[in-house]
């Protein structure tokens, strides 16, 4: 077992950054800090709110109601043969996890600047714990989904065992975008204004309110270039056991996320040494 303490008993070398190292094992050594930062974010999130944790349920439920009314009932958007509310809710679950985690992690370095300026720890800890804190809301909203599936009499098939994979994909996607934007945010505070705009556009480009089957068949794998399309389709496939195979689309999403994630890590690590000076 390596703790942060034990890791530091070896000689520490301080020098200008030359080579690029990911030092992921160091992030692991600081897992207690990650734990407490996540715990802090969760504890503090609904402090001084009247409805508290209910917000974690209200947000996806109310959005589902509005979607069902306007897209499902009035615009008659198809829903792959499932009741529209279930269809939309299953899409909204990973979407809201993504949008929340992305926003939090993009702002995380700036909102934790007092830590960055005064204490050493691997900076990756900050956006990472911001993303992880979003999982609690997801878990609460997931319980509502189970109730909903029961009411509509939908039984998930064996494909549900792959749900954690798609959940991981959603988290990594959020972390990827979070890495890029949190590091950019240190230098350019414009990011704060880009994020709400970006998530809005991104929602429209993701098959949350509509099915991916609206996209012509031969174009569909390319739709996976938006990794959230892969995540949402994956969720529907795993939970609703939809006919049709989103495999190609998901494969493209996974590839895109992996490339962007490694790129984000490199960018983050390169900028990391300047955070304390610039933020």
């Amino acid at each position: 077992m390596t703790s942060a303490a034990q890791l530091q008993t070896t000689a520490i070398l301080i020098e200008p950054q030359r080579r690029l190292e990911f030092r992921l094992q160091e992030v692991w050594a600081y897992r207690d800090l990650i734990y407490f930062l996540v715990w802090r974010d969760i504890k503090v999130r609904y402090k001084q709110t009247a409805l508290g944790t209910l917000w974690a349920i209200l947000q996806p439920v109310l959005t589902t109601l509005v979607f069902s009314l306007f897209f499902g009932r009035l615009a008659k958007v198809p829903s792959d043969g499932f009741p529209y509310p279930v269809f939309a809710y299953v899409g909204l679950l990973p979407w809201q996890l993504f949008a929340y985690s992305l926003t939090e992690s993009a702002n995380s370095l700036v909102s934790n600047q007092n830590l960055i300026r005064k204490v050493y720890f691997p900076r990756l800890v900050i956006p990472l714990s911001a993303v992880l804190a979003g999982l609690v809301d997801f878990a609460i909203a997931f319980v509502v989904l189970l109730v909903m599936l029961f009411i509509y009499g939908i039984r998930p098939g064996v494909s549900i065992v792959l749900l954690p994979v798609f959940l991981l994909l959603a988290v990594v996607t959020a972390l990827t975008v979070g890495l890029w934007f949190s590091a950019l945010n240190v230098q350019y505070r414009d990011v704060r204004y880009i994020i709400p705009f970006l998530t809005q556009l991104w929602l429209l480009a993701t098959p949350v309110a509509y099915p991916a089957t609206l996209i012509p068949e031969h174009w569909r794998p390319w739709y996976g270039l938006n990794p959230m399309a892969g995540v949402v389709e994956g969720f529907r496939w795993a939970l609703l056991g939809r006919a049709g195979n989103p495999g190609a689309l998901i494969a493209v999403s996974v590839a895109v996320v992996l490339v962007m994630f490694v790129g984000g890590l490199i960018y983050f690590r390169r900028m990391e040494s300047t955070f304390a000076d610039v933020v």
């Binding site: 703790s3 942060a4 303490a5 530091q8 008993t9 000689a11 520490i12 070398l13 301080i14 020098e15 200008p16 950054q17 207690d32 800090l33 734990y35 407490f36 930062l37 715990w39 802090r40 504890k43 503090v44 402090k47 001084q48 934790n112 007092n114 830590l115 960055i116 300026r117 005064k118 204490v119 050493y120 720890f121 230098q187 350019y188 414009d190 900028m271 040494s273 300047t274 304390a276 000076d277 610039v278």
Partner: protein, 432 residues
């Protein structure tokens, strides 16, 4: 494990100060934002960079307690930041043997909404303690902080004193092999500061390596056996604490050597913002507008003429003059913001502000003067140790007895209350 705790070789840190103005209009910030967007974050021309630390080489052995002293902006804090890995050096390298704990601030990461108990865990984790370590020291921390009763109250309801006590208690129970401390003692009331100093003493006696920065010479001299003096990024002295203190005070008084009453500020070394040199010159006069060549006699008039330049048309500008004694304590601050007559109107370009102190009553000694200029409520130019002058002994009370102790003299009188004595006498008489 080797004997050496910290080995540094040519550590240097360069900061870019950019073309930043210390104050700006909305339009300025917009154009700056546009410019910044097209500028690469790294590699800019050398003229807008400063070396906060330059070529610092030293060796600290295990168990050494080292104090780093120097003026503001001498690079002390930057050096500590490099040693605690908060920022990377631009050049040079250092090797540290042992677990490092750095306290550049106490209570970092305290969350106001969380309770004292919760913040102990959070802050402990931020300082690098593991969950197990925090749990095992929890009771000690609580006892030291004296906030047992409020442990489950959100920290936002704490008084500032409780806040500081809790924060220090956590920090004090961090048990690294090498402790790096910056100015944390400059908080809290006197009793608490004493308690902190005591704890720091325990830490240094316990054979741990401590690197300590403070403006309080008393604290540094008390705790440290070895002293390093920094000046403008360079390590200029390294030796015993006593010698370091002497060197430091000696180096402060090199500014004025001509015995003149005019002090050039344009080339002053200790400018805080090196962007625009708006403060130009200071002249000192004493009673009868005589140039104060040899200093000012205690109780005489001190007239300070400050020449400066206003970068824009405004009526909102102020000059501040702070008088510090040789221990770095601020004894008196003269600030034009306290001047009730604000009828000078809008001005720009070269100005002369005159501060007239009709009776300068600080006790004899050498004083260091800090001068700063505010424009539109923002400090735009500031010089620490801008000049030094002497206050010369004088027969202030007109009795031929020269005041020797205290920091200043005050006009005062002594009288005997004959009436009060008579009353007491009559009471005694009645009792008998």
């Amino acid at each position: 494990m080797s004997e050496i705790a910290i080995h540094a070789e040519g550590l240097s840190k360069r900061y870019r100060i950019g073309a930043c103005e210390s104050y700006q209009t909305l339009r300025d910030s917009l154009t700056k934002a546009v410019k910044a967007a097209f500028r690469k974050p790294k590699g800019s021309s050398s003229e807008d960079t400063i070396w906060a630390v330059k070529d610092a080489s030293f060796e600290i052995r295990q168990g050494d307690v080292v104090g780093i002293i120097g003026r503001n902006g001498a690079g002390k804090s930057t050096l500590l930041k490099v040693l605690s890995r908060i920022t990377t050096p631009t050049e040079g390298r250092a090797v540290i043997h042992g677990r490092v704990g750095s306290l550049l601030e106490i209570g970092t990461g305290f969350h106001p909404e969380l309770t004292g108990r919760e913040n102990i865990f959070l802050n402990g984790a931020i300082l690098g303690m593991s969950k197990v370590e925090i749990r095992s020291r929890f009771d000690e921390i609580v006892a030291f902080s004296e906030v047992e009763k409020f442990l489950d109250t959100p920290v936002k309801h704490y008084s500032s004193g409780m806040h500081v006590r809790l924060a220090f208690a956590i920090a004090a129970h961090l048990e690294p092999e090498i402790l790096i401390v910056d100015e944390v003692l400059a908080v809290g009331d006197m009793t608490f500061q004493k308690k902190c100093l005591g704890k720091m003493n325990d830490v240094s006696r316990g054979g741990r390596t401590v690197v300590f920065v403070s403006h309080s010479m008393a604290a540094v001299e008390n705790l440290c056996r070895r002293g390093i003096v920094m000046d403008r990024g360079h390590l200029v002295f390294d030796g015993s604490m006593r010698d370091a203190a002497q060197y430091y005070f000696g180096s402060v008084s090199t500014i004025r050597d001509s015995g003149d009453h005019i002090f050039d500020l344009i080339n002053a070394g200790h400018r805080v913002f090196k962007v625009r040199k708006l403060l130009k010159r200071v002249e000192l006069y004493t009673t009868g507008d005589q140039p104060a060549n040899e200093g000012v006699r205690m109780g005489e008039r001190l007239k300070i003429r400050v020449h400066f330049e206003l970068p824009c048309l405004t009526d909102n500008f102020n000059i501040g003059i702070g008088f510090n004694n040789i221990f770095g304590q601020r004894i008196f601050t003269a600030y034009s913001i306290y001047e009730p007559d604000r009828s000078h109107g809008e001005r720009s370009g070269p100005q002369v502000f005159v501060c007239d102190i009709s009776s300068f009553t600080l006790t004899p000694g050498t004083y260091t003067v800090w001068i700063w200029l505010d424009v539109r409520n923002t400090e735009v130019d500031s010089i620490e140790d801008a000049l030094q002058f002497d206050v010369i002994e004088s027969d202030f009370y007109g009795t031929g007895r020269l005041p020797t102790s205290g920091m200043f003299v005050l006009e005062h009188r002594w009288t005997l209350d004959h009436h009060g004595v008579e009353l007491e006498n009559s009471e005694i008489a009645e009792a008998v």
